[in-house]
Symmetry: C2
Subunit: 141 residues, 2 copies
């Protein structure tokens, strides 16, 4: 179930739960500061992608399917001088729909939109990510 991406590991991002359909992550400020000492943009995009993708990945038979990102957008509201937290969940009907789409047409997708919060609970950015789930070697029946 786990994909290793060096780029992501270099940020020190921490997954805070392993529940099915649920992503909850912490991005550390340390090592991810920008030129003015607050959280760097790129750390937000990594946090947004992980938070968006993991609920879908959590149900994937990774021998058959894999995730990709179709688009990502982050809007910044405030600078963050602390670690940043994000959470996104797909409920059971949504998960069932994704699995059904994968079986039926070899692909599925969803839009994840969620706030990213500093340690004080203030929304510092908003993430919006389109996640696609695709099949290894899919051929139409």
């Amino acid at each position: 179930m786990t994909y290793r991406v060096e780029f992501v590991e270099r940020t020190g991002i921490e997954r805070l739960t392993s529940a099915r359909g649920l992503a909850r992550y912490r991005m550390p400020l340390a090592g991810n500061e920008n030129h003015v000492g607050v959280m760097y943009m790129g750390a937000f995009t990594v946090l947004a992608e992980a938070t968006a993708a993991i609920p879908g990945i959590s149900i994937l038979d990774t021998a058959r399917f894999y995730p990709i990102i179709k688009d990502i957008s982050v809007v910044f509201h405030k600078m963050s001088k602390t670690d940043v937290f994000a959470e996104f969940q797909l409920d059971e009907p949504a998960l069932d729909g994704l699995l059904a789409d994968l079986e039926r047409k070899g692909s599925a997708g969803y839009l994840a939109e969620f706030p990213m919060l500093d340690a004080g609970g203030v929304t510092v950015a908003t993430g919006k990510v389109t996640v696609k789930l695709l099949s290894h070697g899919w051929t139409k029946a």
Copy 2:
């Protein structure tokens, strides 16, 4: 004129020109691969940010002004199995306008939109970044 951001340096991004108002960058694939061996999303966002911001930064008196990113979006068209290249330019009237805004109201901004190309010249993604230029300790006159 140069801001150092560790996160950016870890990607190995290379600036290909130092002309005023012009950004031209190369993001290496090596070290920036994702779980399926192509360029990772986060490397695109770093490339997009640098390409968008540098034309504005190139004219900044950094003792007085600094850049921030207001929002960033990357749309993916194809996976890239090579290094990725991007270019964005602000012309002289645009640069003059930014400097005038900074003097008049302490802030300025622009939208950068540009393709990101693989080594074969194929557009693999589109970047769209809103850059703001702000003043250190600005107070209205």
